[in-house]
């Protein structure tokens, strides 16, 4: 089995979007997600020596990130407990306010929605791994960031028809991959 090497200087370019979408799907808060990711990178740097090369870099980073997210959940839950005590003994509390309404709740969607969407985002990103780097970059710029065709053409120095061919290939491959893994 080939061992995977670790190269922190490329982490941000390679994995930040993946980590970001993964975190957003779990905590639903952009700022918190940013904090968690920077913590993850730092923790990764600290424990670089422990990286055995058995998993890919990304899997390894995700496993660190998962721990960070769980820690965050724990923190939230302990806050919930405190809020409970406060409200129970708070005489000024408004009548009719339920405990649940005052406790922090990260999810404002139904559980099903959240589950489906979080899996979907990660599934799409996983499928994008099958694309070539250029395809993935251009597809991301066009579809997710919503850049104009002209801007992308200038950046990559290609013609619009080139761009559409690349987009076409990316879409076909993504559709195939999602069909296999999602539907």
């Amino acid at each position: 089995m080939s061992t995977n090497k670790i190269d922190p200087t490329k982490w941000v370019d390679k994995y930040s979007d993946y980590l970001f979408n993964y975190t957003i799907s779990k905590v639903n808060d952009r700022e918190l997600a940013n904090d968690l990711i920077s913590e993850t990178f730092l923790a990764g740097l600290k424990s670089m020596k422990n990286f055995k090369g058995e998993a890919t870099e990304r899997t390894w980073l995700i496993s660190i990130l998962k721990r960070k997210i769980i820690d965050q959940y724990r923190k939230n839950n302990s806050n919930k407990g405190r809020a409970e005590v406060k409200i129970t003994y708070n005489e000024n509390s408004n009548e009719g306010d339920w405990l649940e309404e005052q406790a922090p709740d990260r999810f404002d969607k139904t559980a099903e929605d959240v589950m489906e969407n979080e899996e979907l985002g990660v599934a799409i990103l996983n499928c994008m791994d099958n694309l070539t780097e250029k395809q993935a970059q251009i597809f991301k710029m066009k579809t997710i960031d919503g850049f104009e065709t002209e801007t992308i053409c200038k950046e990559f120095n290609i013609t619009p028809s080139n761009l559409w061919v690349i987009i076409h290939r990316a879409r076909t491959s993504l559709a195939k991959c999602l069909e296999k893994n999602w539907f």
């Binding site: 200087t9 930040s16 990711i37 920077s38 740097l45 985002g121 799409i124 999602l178």
Partner: protein
């Protein structure tokens, strides 16, 4: 080119005003996903799809993909954050 037309001996000229081939129809369909297809392209595509089952299938898959991506709320993280992270990592490494 749709098989039906081939059977009746229809030959396609270059830059045909009404009939386009599958690859061009595919491109029009891709453009449509980003709202960048012109009216004439849309008409040509619809006309082509009336004859061509594979292209109809491709169009439906393509639309599905667009909807899925919309639904997944994918977003790339802000460039500023990326810069910050890069700087912190570089600092840590050079320590």
């Amino acid at each position: 080119m749709p098989n039906v037309l081939k059977k009746i001996g229809f030959k396609m000229k270059k830059n045909n005003l009404l009939f386009i081939d599958c690859s061009e129809a595919g491109h029009c369909c891709d453009k449509k996903q980003y709202d960048e297809a012109s009216l004439s392209e849309k008409i040509k595509m619809l006309l082509h799809m009336a004859f061509c089952k594979p292209c109809r299938k491709y169009a439906s898959k393509n639309t599905k993909l667009t909807k899925l991506i919309e639904k997944s709320n994918l977003s790339s993280c802000p460039e500023e954050e990326k810069k910050n992270w890069k700087e912190t990592i570089e600092k840590e490494i050079s320590k």
